[in-house]
Symmetry: D2
Subunit: 338 residues, 4 copies
């Protein structure tokens, strides 16, 4: 029997080489580092993994590398959404063969579908998949999956074994848990919104698939363990710290560039992303990376910039500017201007 | 020095008599019952109190009755939003004279204002008010108040002493607390969304202004006390129960009719609301009130219907129908049909 | 029998004196000017008239002044929405007695009501009103009125004689006209969104209630007359000009401050609005008023600024800056700097 | 030099065979029929063509078949959006080689990008494409393209030669035309929202890419020709008729199933769509197809159902039910029940 999905699954970022192709050695190095730093599982082809920006072939290769490098040390939850049901089922079969524990399938996107059609889509997949399926609800990007639909799918299909929800809406999560746990105690509830990770664990979530764990796997694991142990007071201290980092990675960048910048500070090269940047965006990012470095340094995970860190205000535009001023002053001092 | 606002403040429903006027004796009886059942404060002229459906004179009278009946047993937070700054300030003065502890002022509504204009509005009030002011953020109905604006107001005006937020967004609440508590430890953070009351208390809220406390003041107080004592496991058990009730009062009714129906089950007559109902809405409400009665009976606060209670599914339309079937069967049995 | 509402009705701005009170002499002078400049009717207490920022007494006085000053020269459509049905009916009676031709009643706002409740609200009013009623649909600010609801109200209540729609959605307007005109050929369809005035007239609207007619009554009338005469090519030339002005009055200001600024350029004093401004907003408005002056000068309705006009780009922030540069250069030239 | 895109381009539906694969003979027959019935161009891989539900290989094949079958009789505007800039450019090259006149590229979807990033994406494509590019703005499904971004792209890149806008917002279209036509008189403005086709042509659009032209190419062409000839009165008569059909194809179905149903009534077999249907959806569609048949019969393009047509109310749920009643009555009559 399948083991319930729980803990923190990293929706892995994908390093690219100088030609813009998947950088396999760096991806392997990154995966091993994540496992060594305590993530409970890996989730390739998530939104953080920018699945829509890769080709179908590249998505397969990313899962293959991930499963191979994981070597059973942690389970792999493979993102398997493709252009249509038939292609998605083919991916399910492939990932099953590669040794993934389960797949995650995002609700249909581009077209916004009704609940009845969302049900029809997942039901057709659930009838034929050879591997367990996690529903992936991300209403800001894809057709929403509502509580009656989840309940219907959970009630009819044993292969549907969990939901990953990235709405960050606690009341919605409680409604799902109240509706489904009585009939399916094995069903996993994972949150994709680490801004509220500790509260989500307190209300009964089994874990999370959190982009931040690409950059600070130690911290997301700590919050998980503290909350699981019922030590909510301590969990909340870390929660307040991670929300600062999360906001600094999320808002001033296009997703997931801020998470990439922070993970680079941990010693990896992710290369140029596939969404092009204007030159003004590129210079912005240098300043923003300094702010991220200061936040990560406060976690004692890396060193501060040589020039030091400006006090942070939690107003990101202002933090960015102050950090730049700080670095320019440092440079001038070094040159003996003062 | 002012005492920090904390605990559960009831945004009181307003009983109407058969002519559609404020029913003063019933309002007094209701207020005393709320105080006797443990609410920490009263909040007349909130959204639950349907302030936009009363005239300016009626709003004053409602606060006057509330302050008089409270007799200092609990603090009164009086909703003071009027047509413009001058009228609002006049209400602030009046409520100050009546003995309210503070006022709550909803962000400008109808017109959707920019953050700069929301700031200008509250700043003008804060400069001249003789009584402490709580900001009221309810983005589904009024111009949103964002974190930089709250921070600006909290930093500049000692008279601004708290915020009531009805968004139910935990990440937003954490961002507010992180931005403001360091500079204003006296600042109160109250949540108006009891679907997430226990999690909000866990992340550091000082209390709530919760419509549900009109119907189940014992339960909202219990959640508050358990959470304050750090007993989150137990608080969450009650939280899961109150979300079922909250959803059953909120979704199938026009707000705040479901809360009125539930409070009537506690022994009060609220009369016909000011928003007219069609006959199909009226018959719907009878069936829905039976569902509410069953939920309240599970809390052991009132008796179950004579005809008994159908099992609930948490799908409200279905619960409503099943309850009606249950009652019809009971009636037929009584008449000897079976 | 009532005459069908048609033509351009001005949702009149309200001049305030230095104490912030309704400036009656200036309001009278403004009303007469509008009539002299060709508006077909007057619409006090609209959104442009900022009805929510006045007290119930002030709203009555504004209609009384308007009816008195109009002296039957043009019909008055009086905004009559008050706190609840009873108060609204009292306003209907008062405005009927004052000689208004009809009232306009905005859909319930603050609370967002279901179509069934919107129906119940207007049905209750329609049953008791002594004066014809125009529904007012403004979904960005108030509960939307959908086509089945309008059809139901138009079919059941002869007193409901028209709709003013401010959504600017042409397809929605066509759906309304197709659903209602066959049963109620007398029903009036008015658009409140002059960005699309000529196209709305082409698809069959009877007229408009357009904020821009406060500033350029000659232009809105011309578009109306050209479109009514079937001269759409010519109407569209003016339409392209008015959208530039409309955007410049609408977007960079809080509504309706830009319309007030433009109307001031026609020779009226509207005073400080009731929504306070920060000092940075105030200095912004000076620059923006220069841009408005240049646009109005191109219509040959007023003179250009002494300093001249920068070429406009239709990007408002940029236009504002360029106009300021232009004026500063002029000042420096005058002082002999060049 | 390239010819300006104008007229009605059909975003072609894709027939599938019983195995769910592209049905090439039927697609060829359909394309030729469209050309014979007066469409000015073909637009494979649009939203109506469900490009996200096909694989990259299938999308190429669809364009290849379309170009081959068109044989230069009408221009082909090929949808070329792929997973990333590099893949999109490869598609541009392929479609150029196949003889397409231009490509249409939808703004990035799934992730919602800022205007600066939307610019960066199209700029990178525009720098390297060997074929003219039409921007495709469909804000309900993809990152919106705002006026300053379109202006920037149109000003910098001669290869960007037009925009297809599916917002249906006339004011937005006028703002685009006002901003861009003075600098780029060759730039094409196409509307994808035939609910407002005649008004869009009146304000200056060059044509449309309209899903309805799959079912009624004669009617969309007639509207185009009447509007181009300045005969707006007559164009509007047809516009009112097409909006009824459009609504009946759009709202009660998942897009583009209603358009497929209507096109099937013209004599084509489209097969089962790739999005699965529940059995309740399937039986719904039979009833809805009867309504579509009645509307098309009123255009005198096909025969009415043997059982006749219920009067239509333009309330689709009600029309569907009445049509079913009508058909059942007919069946009973045939069986001699009456």
């Amino acid at each position: 029997m399948a083991i319930k999905l729980q803990g923190i699954f990293t929706p892995t970022l994908v390093p690219l080489d100088e030609r813009g192709q998947v950088n396999e050695p760096e991806l392997r190095r990154f995966i091993s580092w994540l496992i060594d730093h305590g993530v409970h599982g890996l989730y390739p082809n998530g939104s953080t993994g920018e699945f829509p920006r890769f080709t179908a072939e590249e998505r397969r290769r990313i899962v293959a590398i991930t499963c191979h490098e994981a070597r059973g040390r942690v389970p792999v939850l493979a993102g398997a959404a493709e252009a249509n049901v038939k292609e998605t089922l083919a991916a399910c079969e492939a990932y099953h063969a590669m040794g993934a524990q389960a797949v995650a399938i995002v609700s249909p996107f581009y077209f916004k579908l009704s609940p009845e059609s969302v049900y029809a889509y997942f039901a057709e997949i659930a009838r034929h998949t050879p591997i367990d399926v996690t529903l992936y609800n991300i209403p800001m990007f894809a057709s929403p999956i509502d509580v009656p639909t989840i309940r219907r799918l959970a009630g009819e299909f044993p292969r549907v074994i969990g939901i990953k929800d990235s709405s960050g809406d606690l009341a919605f999560m409680m409604r799902m848990i109240a509706a489904i746990r009585p009939l399916r105690p094995d069903f996993s509830f994972l949150t994709g919104w680490e801004a509220v990770l500790a509260p989500m664990l307190m209300i009964g979530c089994d874990g999370g698939t959190n982009a931040s764990s690409n950059a600070v796997p130690e911290v997301t694991r700590r919050i998980y363990e503290l909350a699981r142990a019922g030590n909510y007071q301590e969990a909340m201290k870390w929660q307040y710290r991670i929300i600062e980092l999360f906001d600094a990675m999320l808002f001033p960048f296009e997703f997931p560039d801020g998470f990439r910048s922070a993970a680079e500070l941990r010693g990896f090269r992710f290369g140029q992303g596939r969404q092009p940047l204007t030159s003004s965006q590129q210079s912005d990012r240098t300043a923003l990376a300094s702010v991220l470095q200061c936040i990560l340094a406060d976690f004692e995970l890396i060193d501060r910039p040589a020039s030091g860190c400006a006090p942070r205000t939690r107003q990101l535009e202002q933090d960015k500017i102050e950090q730049v001023v700080f670095e320019v002053m440092h440079e001038l001092q070094k040159r003996g201007v003062f």
